[in-house]
């Protein structure tokens, strides 16, 4: 008897939801339409290796650093003063302790520095254990030869966890020859959600406004054929981090419903706020680059001189000039690399 009571109670529960009934009828009609559509274009296979509709459970980390090539390819202006690569005097508390920070343009020859590479994770869901971080140095300039410093393995947690960002530390002895050097950090992860944001460079030089400020860098043609190069200059630099309630990315906006939509919305604002071409050199600056459009044989290396004359003093004590180099090939230009000059006023 109690089984019958339960049965009719459950039946009554079903019948008192007429809205759900009509919604269900709609769903059934839609299901039938889906099947009819599918009969016309059958999916090739299901369940075989390599032909699988993956569940939401499969997660990939996105280890990343400030990657100039990636950001430029996505339409953003870039600085070669990399916020994720920092030099220090070695600390005394072990391989991860650091002393005073050191500017990358003021290095002593044959001196050991501790380099700290900051690694972020763009994924909210997947960590990376044993993530290799490779560090190398190059002669100051564009597309110059690289020399390996070493590889450090780190543990990178998901975004927002205590293990993100993670840091890789390297002890780097500078070459005997005095001069400027660039540092290049590269992350390697075979199952990376976005493998294009893994290479970052620190190419910075500093000069005083001794009318004009003169900088030199090396330009090398890494290609196997003759190549013409061109330069573009801008004054882009990273802004100071804004409080969240004043950030252009969050102000007056409702958070989009999906992560992808949120990411797309943020990129849209980033292109507006940081877009390449949006930071022209002020008209009262006089800049000369010599040679202006070099034509180099394969592997050839030349010195390029940049002189900057700031005739009108601006409010800032520091001015920034980025010189980005492009290889020209069949009327197409390819972003090669660049350098950032910081001009300090007396």
């Amino acid at each position: 008897m109690s089984a019958l009571t339960t049965f009719f109670k459950a039946l009554a529960k079903l019948l008192v939801k007429p809205g759900q009934l009509w919604w269900g009828v709609g769903e059934i009609v839609r299901a039938l339409c889906r099947v009819l559509r599918r009969l016309r274009r059958r999916t090739p296979c299901r369940g075989d290796a390599g032909c699988l509709r993956l569940p939401e459970a499969y997660k990939r980390p996105d280890p990343l650093i400030y990657s100039q090539h990636y950001l430029y390819s996505m339409g953003l202006a870039v600085t070669w003063d990399n916020p994720d690569i920092q030099l220090f005097e070695p600390g005394h508390g072990g391989p991860q302790s650091v002393g005073a920070p050191v500017a990358s343009h003021a290095l002593q020859p044959a001196h050991v520095y501790r380099v700290r590479v900051q690694v972020w994770n763009g994924s909210y869901d997947a960590p990376a254990v044993g993530l290799p971080v490779h560090l190398s140095y190059l002669s100051f300039g564009v597309a110059t030869n690289t020399h390996v410093v070493g590889t450090t393995f780190i543990e990178l947690g998901v975004k927002g966890s205590p293990h993100a960002p993670a840091f890789a530390f390297f002890d780097w002895m500078t070459p005997e020859a005095a001069g400027h050097y660039c540092l290049q950090a590269r992350l390697e992860w075979s199952d990376d959600a976005n493998p294009n944001n893994n290479l970052g460079q620190e190419n910075v030089d500093v000069g005083a406004t001794s009318s004009p400020a003169v900088f030199r860098f090396t330009l090398r043609n890494p290609a196997t054929s003759r190549m013409r190069f061109a330069f573009e200059t801008d004054t882009y630099r990273l802004p100071a981090s804004a409080p969240c309630d004043q950030s252009p990315y969050t102000q007056g906006r409702e958070r989009p419903r999906t992560r992808l939509a949120e990411s797309q919305a943020r990129w849209e604002v980033a292109r507006r706020e940081h877009g390449a071409g949006g930071f022209p050199v002020p008209p009262d600056w006089t800049i000369s680059i010599d040679p202006a459009d070099p034509f180099l044989a394969a592997g050839e290396e030349i010195d390029v001189t940049v002189s900057v004359d700031l005739s009108t003093p601006t409010g800032d004590r520091h001015a920034t000039l980025n010189v980005n180099a492009f290889a020209l090939e069949h009327e197409e230009s390819h972003f090669v690399s660049g350098v950032t000059f910081q001009i300090e006023k007396a």
């Binding site: 059934i28 459970a57 950001l71 869901d125 927002g160 990129w267």
Partner: protein, 428 residues
């Protein structure tokens, strides 16, 4: 976002009895159909006859058939969905994490298996997928490492039994338990949708019953008219044959429609990933031999032959490989190889130089070697520790903070959160 979870495991023993088994489906249909039959067809037939004579009886029969179809379908789906979702998986101690190697390509269940879950088998580290079947079950169950995830629970072994072989009854003998690898299932939403659609499916079931009964009546009428040439006996025989043929045609047509509807519902949620960032590349496939870390509910699945599994699978990540200085592909993953070739290089320990380096003998000894065990444990603990953080409540809350919603780079689209005292603190 983690993988979806629709099921909820239950603690065994429970007042609800043993876990739901696939053979219980027939009983559900018969029970609900029987009650429907008693109250639908008989009532319809009798009331119809009393009110409208023979024509009334026919109408009453069709109305009764509809109510049988409706109640039997709707109630069986509701009850089946509840049992499937909430009384099928026995809890084994909460969410667990494991590292292993995929044995078979992942697959999606067919409609015939009543769900659209995706599943695969995982040979737990350090057992190689191609060798795990030959290793004695006890060696794995009692390895003191990850084998504990597979070790039969005493009460489940004695009362419900475990998988021994395909199409064989469950065994209650621990030495015969054959599932020496971890089954993992990512959940599909078939039964949740079926529960939501129970009433509408009832309409469909009712319509199918009417079509079947109508077919039988029409067949009987036609059979009687053809058999009527041979007198009343011929009419009866013709009506029976015609009724059966009509019912079969009606039921067959209804089945085609219902199958198509189920197929459509089955394929509603294929698990498209919409939580990526701009710039993310398409997910690659998971294939045999991939080294992965899995995280999800650790349960005993009572539906099929009985085994331990991760269900639902909430997250799976690949243990990535990297290139060494000489250009060869390397990984920190450890696999026990009793015949590890002389002169080969054991996996690097560079992810933690404090861990011991491995020698060829360690690779041959597997977990019997202390350095090997330490390395395997360290790797499992690190992966599982970091992956578990994703499911930590505090981390989840932190991820919702505006300072963590950057997508380009924190220096580009990041921001500073407000501290509790009103000052601003930089992220991390």
């Amino acid at each position: 976002m983690p993988g979806p979870q629709y099921t909820k495991c239950f603690d065994y023993p429970s007042p609800g009895g043993p876990p739901f088994h696939e053979t219980d489906f027939l009983g559900l249909g018969l029970k609900n159909g029987g009650i429907g039959l008693a109250f639908g067809v008989l009532t319809g037939l009798v009331v119809g006859f009393l009110v409208g004579g023979p024509i009334g009886a026919i109408v009453g029969l069709l109305v009764g058939a509809f109510s049988v179809g409706f109640t039997a379908t709707a109630m069986a789906i509701t009850e089946g969905a509840n049992l499937w979702l909430y009384h099928r998986l026995v809890c084994l101690g909460g969410r667990k994490c494991a590292v292993g190697s995929i044995m078979d390509p992942p697959a999606i269940s067919d409609l015939g298996e009543f769900d659209n879950d995706e599943f695969f088998d995982l040979a737990l580290m350090p057992y190689a997928p191609e060798r795990v079947k030959d290793i004695p079950a006890d060696t794995i169950f009692d390895d003191g490492f990850q084998g504990g995830l597979l070790r039969p629970r005493a009460d489940l072994l004695s009362e419900l039994g475990y998988f021994e072989a395909e199409d064989a009854p469950r065994t209650h003998d621990r030495s015969k338990v054959a599932k020496k690898w971890l089954h993992c299932e990512a959940e599909g939403d078939f039964w949740v949708r079926m529960a939501d659609l129970a009433a509408a499916m009832g309409l469909l079931g009712g319509a199918a019953a009417v079509v079947t009964a109508g077919g039988a009546l029409a067949g009987a009428a036609a059979g009687c008219s053809w058999g009527g040439f041979f007198g009343p006996i011929g009419c009866i025989i013709g009506a029976i044959i015609g009724g059966i043929i009509g019912a079969l045609v009606g039921a067959g047509g209804s089945k085609l429609v219902i199958d198509a509807v189920l197929e459509g519902i089955f394929e509603t949620n294929p698990g498209d990933v919409d939580d990526a960032n701009v710039g993310d590349e398409p997910l690659g496939p998971l294939v045999r031999g991939d080294k992965v870390v899995v995280f999800g509910e650790h349960v005993y699945d009572g539906l099929h032959e009985g085994w331990h599994e991760i269900h639902p699978l909430l997250a799976i990540c690949k243990v990535a490989s990297f290139k060494t200085t000489d250009g060869t592909e390397a990984s920190f993953y450890l696999e026990w190889d009793p015949s590890f070739p002389k002169g080969s290089t054991p996996p690097s320990h560079q992810f933690d130089l404090a861990l011991p380096e491995l020698a060829e003998a360690d690779m041959r000894a597997g977990l019997a070697s202390d350095p090997f065990r330490k390395r395997a444990t360290a790797l499992r603990d690190r992966w599982c520790g970091l992956l578990s953080e994703r499911f930590d409540e505090k981390v989840g809350q932190t991820q919702q903070g505006l300072d963590q919603r950057w997508t380009v780079h924190p220096a580009v689209d990041g921001c500073k959160p407000a501290a509790s005292n009103g000052e601003f603190v930089p992220p991390h």
